[in-house]
């Protein structure tokens, strides 16, 4: 680094401009606070940008609207607020004890200090161990979506999808729309994990869904030429003699996400391991504040969930961060109550069971910790 750069101060720094960060910045900005919203990508929206499908969730949180349109709509609202600054292609790299955040932007290291920080950095994809998984042509679902939906490049002619959660199902659908043949969707669990309407929708396109199967090996020397899949038993062991060879030129892994929380580790926010929420997640209270005062989390960074809940958590983090700083949030008590009850409602059904269990564990651990 050349010389000492000046530390720029503001009220709230929001890291990550996905649905969670966008809503946090919007709500904090509406209360009049000086907000800096940064994202490492050249665009706002996070995961939303890659979602060409209509969103599930609550109509009031834009469900039924296509992901990329949601991002544009919220960003436009933020741009109307003069006290919110959006800085793109800006990667938060480090957080130091004195509260300074270092950010890499256009080759320069900038330093910021916020009275409150909202970490909304989203998630990273998990990988799967199998023979030859380092062959070119073995992709994560996120990479496939980026190639297809952001850059318009076809990732393959014929592809094997591993994982029948929502991401595996949706990306398969998008692959077919783009003209790629999806040879099959395989899923190790005995049941489809994603929403069944999504499963039926790809099935109607003629894509087989095979539950109780895993990938054993990718075939090929320089690049993927095929894959061997096989059945697995109740103990997740491969069943001899059930191998099937599938000819494909790519394998796409959609086997789950984990919270991206490097900055939280650096800030010494206590982390706990809760598989239901995707792995290591930060401790936090109902208001999205971590045990490190004035550091908030929201969205997938707080635990893997969905865009609707990410937006609600972002709103919650936004209003709480600014009201703690002394800004008055119009009708605060009602707003907070409404968001909390919307979140509860959203997680109340059978598919929310895992999240509820995870959050219950988080609460127990938090109470023990404090």
């Amino acid at each position: 680094m050349e010389g000492e750069t000046q530390v720029i101060s503001c009220d709230v720094i929001v890291i990550g401009a996905g649905p969670a960060g966008l809503m946090a910045a919007l709500r904090a900005g509406e209360a009049g606070a000086g907000v800096l919203l940064i994202d490492r990508e050249p665009f706002t929206g996070g995961q939303l940008v890659k979602q060409t499908h209509r969103f599930f969730g609550s109509k009031h949180q834009y469900a039924g609207t296509r992901g990329f349109d949601i991002a544009v709509r919220i960003t436009e609202k933020i741009e109307c607020l003069k006290n919110v600054k959006i800085l793109l292609e800006a990667t938060a790299l480090g957080y130091y004890e004195d509260g300074v955040l270092t950010v890499l932007h256009e080759g320069r290291m900038l330093k910021f200090k916020g009275k409150a920080i909202v970490v909304a950095t989203g998630a990273h994809e998990r990988f799967l161990p199998f023979e030859n998984n380092d062959l070119p042509g073995v992709y994560g679902a996120g990479a496939v979506q980026t190639l297809m939906n952001v850059y318009g490049v076809l990732p393959a002619k014929r592809i094997l999808m591993v994982g029948a959660g929502n991401i595996g199902l949706i990306v398969s659908y998008q692959l077919v729309q783009a003209g790629v043949e999806v040879a099959a969707i395989i899923e190790a669990a005995p049941r489809i994990g994603g929403y069944l309407v999504h499963a039926s929708k790809v099935r109607r396109l003629g894509v087989p869904i095979m539950t109780g199967y895993t990938i054993k090996r990718a075939l090929g020397k320089e690049c993927v030429r095929g894959a061997i899949i096989c059945k697995i038993d109740e103990n997740w062991n491969p069943v001899e003699g059930t191998e099937i060879k599938i000819e494909v030129d790519a394998v796409c892994l959609a086997v789950g996400l984990s919270s991206l929380c490097e900055l939280l580790w650096q800030a010494e926010v206590p982390m706990v391991y809760i598989p239901e929420l995707g792995g290591h997640v930060p401790l936090r209270n109902e208001d999205m504040e971590t045990p490190v005062e004035r550091i908030y989390v929201a969205g997938d960074a707080a635990g893997i969930e969905e865009a609707t809940s990410a937006m609600l958590e972002g709103e919650l983090a936004g209003i709480n961060a600014v009201s703690k700083l002394g800004y008055s949030v119009e009708d605060y008590a009602n707003k907070r109550g409404k968001i909390l009850s919307d979140l509860k409602n959203l997680r109340s059904g059978p598919v929310g069971e895992k999240i509820r269990a995870g959050l219950a564990r988080l609460r127990t651990l938090r109470n023990g910790n404090l």
Partner: protein, 162 residues
């Protein structure tokens, strides 16, 4: 089985279908959404209030088939592409299946297409009688296909062959 391969069984389907008697009286909605998921746009899309108000966002859509007139408004609101309208009174031999469609190229009106079942397998031929791509549908085309009457509960997708 629905949760194993994405294809609902006859029993699973029966829970949500309009009665034969209602089907014989003209266009009516068929919603193939059988799992409680946090999703509700269909409820808000129906101006006739034929989709019962959701107790909470996880409710399964339940239709009052007497109120539904098969107007097709709800079809393009559903992110699961799970809503269809069928009309068994279309003509002597054929029935209409009205479905959401998000692939390119779109067929032309009057074109013959391959009709696919819930597995994506071709079960018969059909003729496209109408395509709607209004702006409010936001890129989900709504296509009406005339199919042999007995196939009205089988056909749920098409393949453009030309």
């Amino acid at each position: 089985m629905l949760d194993k391969d994405g294809v609902p069984t006859k029993e699973e389907l029966l829970k949500q279908l309009p009665s034969e008697e209602r089907l014989d009286r003209g266009p009516v909605v068929v919603i193939e959404c059988f799992q409680e998921i946090p999703c509700d746009p269909c409820y808000y899309s129906c101006r006739r209030r034929a989709i019962r108000e959701f107790a909470d966002i996880n409710s399964i859509p339940i239709v009052d088939f007497e109120r539904c007139n098969g107007c097709t408004l709800c079809i393009s609101s559903c992110p699961g592409l799970a809503i269809f309208v069928v009309d068994k009174t279309y003509s002597e031999e054929s029935a209409l299946v009205i479905m959401p469609y998000e692939l390119l190229p779109l067929p032309e009106e009057g074109e013959e297409v391959a009709c696919l079942d819930r597995r994506g397998e071709e079960v018969c031929k059909g003729r496209v009688v109408n395509i709607r791509t209004r702006k409010m549908q936001d890129k989900t085309a709504v296509i009406s296909v005339a199919v042999p009457k007995e196939m009205v509960m089988e056909v749920r997708n098409i393949r453009v062959t030309s």
